[in-house]
Subunit: 459 residues, 2 copies
């Protein structure tokens, strides 16, 4: 609901006497009122004395007003829903939001069901868990993903997902830090920084003032030219990348860590797609020597085990990482986790533990393999149509180039003509303009059908 | 781990040559270094060349450094663990943290187990849910708790618990608002405000600068004298109250709403214990006419259904609530929820739905009834010992007065002599000094045993 619509529905021009009365009691400031927009239509306009909207005297957080439109994915969902209303009989296929579609392997759900049942027994009940996550799960995450890298149980903070942790990290950093992001990148990094007041206003085609956008394009093989990047306090870096699907090599990440060390920056490394890597690139930033002194790593079970709805992730904050005064970052993050969060659901954590058993790991690998086959189908389709196609090899995202075209226009044309939902590249930052992201998360039949429709449209 | 301990373990005085090398590459600023503390003990002190700690150049968030000690409850857990190490054979009973102990009714856990299993089927799988919660659950919460109060499905935001929502609300409000809290109060309100930068520094026995502490004492029947309270943007108010156990009457809440309206303030009303109310007081702030224009309500399944570990709560942001410029608060909160959160676990939401079925409501009422019996036992015990005892009637917390004594001293004495963990009143704010909170969450046998030990100590 827009502000104008909202007010127009609750303000009437005949409410002046009520307004006068309210004014005495509640100090309404009439300067904020908008003129009513009368909806006439077939004309039964009878001015009824409606109640005038009361406004508190609390100023809206100025940072919130800097945000552009809605958060990307709810905006796409809104457009999809509008499209469905327009074409109620169309079979709409969603390759947009990056939402997993395949069932969670039974070994994992059985474990969650078992934990659920146990909660109704005296022996199996548990209340508040450790805010940082259950000891066994923290330990399993450390050994499974960081076995030989010197990351220990106490460095792992289990969470309800990467998106929540990105925001908690921003709260930790506060409003005074400066940040850099790959451009394009997952919008939560930028948006949470805007909300915390780290940025200035948004400029069309440029982005938010005070953010260092590190252009990642086919020209630089999707790795930024660090010699042109200004120093910032925090560097968000996602590899394999969402949305471009590209993965940084060991040499590139070594450069990045070196760059952070020289600048005294903190890298927030998002490895949520690491298990999709088929090349021999690092799966964790901590494979790079010295990274523990400059990096935090965020990851998640969402795209490995289909936990997008179950909600479970983790963040690694190595004890070696310090603020400029020597204070360990992990100690402040621990305080944030204890004060602003109360731990991930114990049932989800039981699922996480099952994921990391030998059978669970095998089952996750099968789910990932399925989505990788989808990715190949999509890549081949766009290749066969003569597009320049990026990503796909190390990530479940295919990044298709439509040079010179507006991403939202391409998004709309595809939706209108094929009933397939994609994601416009410009939603990921100014550097995504001219691209669309096609997600490989979908049932096989839907992916095949979407590709058939793409061929029909672009052949 | 303290900072000094941390650094002492990684700094050695013989590391100068390494330091010199590091300095060239990484711009370490040696001024931040602490002198090493050598641990000798049985004396095998061989100075080995250790690596000096590297510090980034990112300044620690100044707001984090304002926070006093650890968050209250982890601090209590820490002291409990220390006590257990000291007395390994003692049967330590915890009536401290307010953690539920009784199994979740089977009707609720079965529903969660069913949802878990369904996630491994094609038909039952679901990925990302709506960030605001599942439609049916939002609707059920609205009708169950706010049936006749004009609160609708779209006003309800389902969350992973009240503590997380308190922080998300603080992020929504930003750093420029002023806040008031009942003193004493649940520490998450104040601590999250400090983290967001809404306050100045902490002064012993006074609290944080720029927070309006509304004293709630036996003298004012635990309801603040609003004529002495300064205007703030936000007023946190919890009823039935944690920790005092007192509940505000309809007349008192009408005063509070009127006070907020006159000042243009927003009340954040925490009703997490409303179902424990045995008096005829309002269970929701929205029972007070006009409250929808000045109040947000936070609540939770934690203390009703034993969901402290499952994690499920909700926040009501009525569409009638506006910032000073007329912008609906709900619209900004929705943006926060979409950007900084990805919805509560779908399995927990299935549990929430089961809670609100007729059988689920009955089952929750039985759990609550059990804890109410515990409360009576604790109240009677302290009454029989001649203490002034407050709370307990409308909340699972008993607030015991130890006039003239330090709360932490009383806490320590009780722990030392009875092996029972309570919560020191001063942990809830300066106004809690001289009280301890005894939680009624515990197995019956433990509550009875704790009360026996209290009688032994104080008779």
């Amino acid at each position: 609901m827009s502000l104008a619509n909202h007010l127009s529905s609750s303000i009437s021009s005949s409410s002046t006497s009520f307004l006068g009365q309210d004014n005495r009691h509640f100090n309404i400031r009439p300067k904020n009122l908008l003129l009513p927009i009368k909806k006439c239509g077939t004309c039964r306009c009878v001015a009824t004395p409606e109640k005038i909207a009361y406004n508190t005297k609390v100023s809206r957080n100025a940072n919130m007003s800097k945000l552009q439109a809605g958060y990307l994915f709810p905006e796409i969902a809104r457009r999809r829903d509008t499209h469905k209303l327009k074409y109620p009989d169309a079979e709409v296929i969603s390759l947009g939001i990056g939402d997993t579609t395949e069932p969670i392997p039974d070994i994992i759900t059985s474990s969650m069901a078992k934990r659920s049942h146990a909660l109704s027994t005296v022996e199996g009940y548990s209340g508040y868990g450790a805010e940082q996550g259950e000891k066994l799960l923290r330990s399993k995450i450390a050994s499974t993903f960081y076995g030989s890298l010197g990351i220990e149980e106490e460095d792992i903070f289990v969470s309800d997902g990467a998106k929540s942790d990105i925001s908690r990290l921003q709260v930790l950093f506060g409003s005074s830090v400066t940040m850099a992001v790959q451009d394009p990148s997952y919008p939560a990094y930028v948006d949470s920084g805007v909300i915390m007041g780290q940025t200035g206003y948004y400029q069309k085609d440029v982005g938010y003032c005070n953010i260092e956008y590190m252009k990642c394009t086919p020209e630089n093989d999707f790795f930024p030219d660090l010699s042109t990047v200004s120093r910032t306090d925090v560097i968000f870096f996602c590899s394999p990348n969402n949305p471009t699907g590209s993965a940084a090599t060991k040499e590139q990440l070594t450069q990045l860590v070196q760059f952070a060390k020289e600048n005294g920056s903190i890298i927030v490394y998002d490895s949520a797609y690491a298990m999709y890597m088929s090349d021999d690139n690092p799966k964790s930033i901590f494979e790079i020597p010295g990274a523990k002194e400059v990096a935090i790593e965020i990851s998640s079970f969402s795209k490995y085990a289909g936990f997008t709805g179950v909600r479970l992730g983790w963040t690694v904050v190595p004890k070696e990482l310090h603020f400029s005064d020597g204070f360990p970052v992990a100690k402040d993050f621990n305080r944030i986790v204890c004060t602003c969060f109360n731990g991930a659901s114990n049932i989800a954590q039981a699922g996480g533990l099952a994921c990391l058993s030998p059978e669970g790991l095998k089952a996750m690998q099968e789910v990932i393999g399925f989505y990788e086959e989808n990715t190949n189908i999509i890549v081949e389709t766009f290749n066969s149509l003569g597009f320049n196609v990026y990503g796909g090899k190390n990530a479940p995202y295919v990044w298709v180039h439509f040079p010179g075209q507006s991403s939202w226009d391409v998004f709309s044309e595809i939706l209108e003509k094929t009933h397939v939902v994609t994601t416009p590249g410009s939603g990921f930052g100014p550097g995504g303009e001219g691209f669309i992201r096609v997600s490989a998360f979908g049932h096989r039949a839907n992916v095949l059908e979407a590709c058939r429709r793409f061929k029909e449209l672009y052949n």
